[in-house]
Amino acid sequence: MEEKEKNINPDEQQEYVINMGPQHPSTHGVLRLVVSLKGEIVKNIEPHIGYIHRGIEKMCESITYPQIIHLTDRMDYLSAHINNEAVCLNVEKALEIDIPDRIKVIRTIMSELTRIQSHQLWWASFGMDLGGLTCFFYGLRDREKILDIFEETCGGRMLVSYNCPGGVMYDIHPNFQKRVKDFIKYFRKILPEYDQLLSGNVIFHERSKGIGKLSLEDAISYGITGPTGRGSGFSCDVRKHEPYSAYDRITFKEILHTEGDTYCRYITRIDEMWESMNIIEQLIDNIPEGPFAVKMKPIIKLPEGEYYQRVETARGELGVYIISDGNKNPYRVKFRSPNFVNLSVFNHITKGFKIADLVAIGGSLDLVIPDIDR
């Protein structure tokens, strides 16, 4: 006992351990971070996850493929549509169904709208993390417009469940094209306002530049994807490298920034909103005619085998891995969720910074906790 006490490193003794979360305003959900501090400086972060674990992967094993859609909605609830798309694409790939162009284009437009609304909410909450409360209301105000479009076409606002294997649930609303075009026109005017409020602010620059640097090597070795990885210069856009849906017929550029700090991750997302608008503009006027869904069998059974499909959600690469034994239920489903991987780098890039930086870096990683826990 006495021996032990002697061996304690005096530095370790001075560590001040605080629990951030599970209920904390800036962990964006029920993430618990055990933070060791020395004064204001963060020495170590130990994330504890699982507070919102619902066993989605296990539940998938006992339900049919069309039903899985409603669970994937609830993983990364901010890119619900894109999660659904991943499952649908995987099922369609397994069944070797040819998807008509109309479905592909609708899916792409909806995915990009989802991406924009996700980034809007991220911008809102990131501003709030840094103490700029007004950002939150600006972001939500504009997000509401996209949710209204979703509501008109899909019925749902956030958890849309619009995709289904073989197409989409319903045809687009007659107003859809007009409203999307109106939104793009509106948001092109509004997005510079975001820059005026936050991106151009001196305090914001001080708070974000050089904070939480993630090098390209680390980004690749940790497997960081999405805007977080692209902020470090890691070209990881699945839409570009392995185009799905209608991404192969449009021209868009992959946003890459090289610095890898909080500011770059921020700017990457802002630029992505611009790019998403470009993508939607290319597609919205030429949605081909045709059916909105392929006629599928009442009970979908995947042939025996293993299937993998990856898509680019608003937070990074989502992989859906399905093992089928030929039944109407999958034998095993595994989701490679971007947030879980992105969380793993948190400790690495936050060490040595201050508590306020911890919050800023956490915000710039854009974590959605239900996706981590599943």
Partner: protein, 379 residues
């Protein structure tokens, strides 16, 4: 002394317009003083006066506190595309009163292993500090509780006392977030006190007095922010920044920092004790805004432009209390404006701003102001 006061009261100079006499509260207060003297001994007179003033200030304090909370909620709502409170009473003006009753009836949660005595003492220190500061502020001509000859120094010293309450609250709460918040608050207020002091000293050099009534009187023909050329303007900006920091308001609200420390030093407080901290924050804002209005913007003095006799005549017609409140709320609006626009600073940036930028600027500024006063370049 008594006959003089009566004489002053009964025979106002004929050259002065009637409203100037009405607006001069000193005749009223002196009349009350004189009539009390008729009935009581001097000792009991002062006791009665203290009680009256105490009750009046307490009332004023509560009204201002409630109004500022409402104003802040409305201002921030309009900046954020919201409506703000609009349910309780017309335009929601009774919202804060409803909130107050809610806080009054709420349970005071005792904290395990907290230092009970200090825990309960802290909110009172905070609120007493702000309460005392209000005593020396001139609201209108003759309308201040006490006209100290070191008024500015007194207000600054007393309002800085609040930091003790914040530190005690953080220390005694037995909460790690609270302690971090209190540590930050200590470092912040102690540093920014310097800048507040130096920026006021700039004006004291110009005014030649620390007595608030004299400072206001010296601005009869022009507010100090115009009189003192650029140094006065710089001092005003510095004062605005550092007094915002001193009152723990955004973008310098590190002691609270809700996204980092949940609620900082008052995390563990509930009910009316929390309301004390909340109220003290708003009253502190009111106090620093009053000082800014008094020292830089002429206090209750009307706005006069050189020889525009007609314009000045109309300006004189507006009661001084309205002038004072108007200026104070202008400064408060400025502070709310940048609270709801800027993101929060980090603790090291906060201290860098003070020690590397504001303090040197201030020192040079004081020197320039002294030079200007010495050469008589001000007007």
């Amino acid at each position: 002394m008594l006959p003089d006061i009566v004489a002053l009261n009964t025979s106002p100079s004929l050259s002065v317009p009637w409203w100037k006499v009405v607006y001069d509260f000193s005749s009223l207060t002196e009349w009350i003083d004189a009539s009390l003297h008729n009935y009581m001994s001097p000792f009991w007179t002062s006791i009665t006066e203290m009680l009256i003033i105490g009750v009046l200030i307490l009332l004023f304090y509560a009204v201002i506190g409630l109004f500022l909370v409402y104003a802040e909620r409305k201002v921030c709502a309009f900046m954020q595309n919201r409506l703000g409170p609009n349910r309780v009473g017309p335009f929601g003006i009774f919202q804060t009163i409803a909130d107050l009753f809610k806080l009054l009836f709420k349970e005071l949660i005792p904290i395990k292993n907290a230092d009970g005595f200090l825990f309960n003492l802290a909110p009172f220190i905070v609120i007493i500090a702000s309460f005392m500061a209000i005593a020396a502020i001139p609201f209108a001509k003759g309308l201040h509780a006490i006209d100290l000859n070191i008024g500015v120094l007194y207000v600054m010293a007393v309002s800085a006392m609040g930091v003790i309450g914040v530190l005690l609250a953080g220390w005694s709460s037995n909460n790690k977030y609270s302690l971090i918040g209190a540590m930050r608050s200590g470092a912040q207020i102690v540093s920014y006190e310097l800048s507040v002091g130096l920026s006021i000293i700039t004006i004291i050099i110009l005014a030649g007095s620390m007595q608030l009534s004299v400072i206001v009187e010296a601005q009869r023909d022009g507010w100090f922010i115009f009189k003192g050329h650029i140094p006065a303007f710089i001092a005003f900006i510095v004062f605005l920044i550092s007094s915002t920091a001193e009152t723990n308001r955004g973008p310098f609200d590190l002691a609270e920092a809700e996204s980092e420390l949940t609620a900082g030093y008052h995390t563990e407080y509930s009910g009316i004790k929390f309301a004390f901290f909340f109220l003290a924050e708003y009253i502190n804002m009111f106090i620093v805004a009053s000082i800014a209005a008094t020292v830089f913007l002429g206090g209750w003095m009307p706005f006069h432009v050189g020889h525009w006799e007609g314009f000045n005549y109309i300006m004189d017609f507006i009661p001084p209390f309205i002038w004072y409140i108007g200026k104070t709320f202008f400064v408060i609006f400025l502070m709310m404006w940048f609270k709801w626009t800027f993101p929060r600073l980090r603790i090291d940036q906060l201290l860098t701003l003070e020690w590397k930028y504001l303090l040197p600027i201030n020192l040079v500024n004081v020197l320039i102001m002294a030079f200007i006063v010495l050469m008589g370049w001000h007007f």
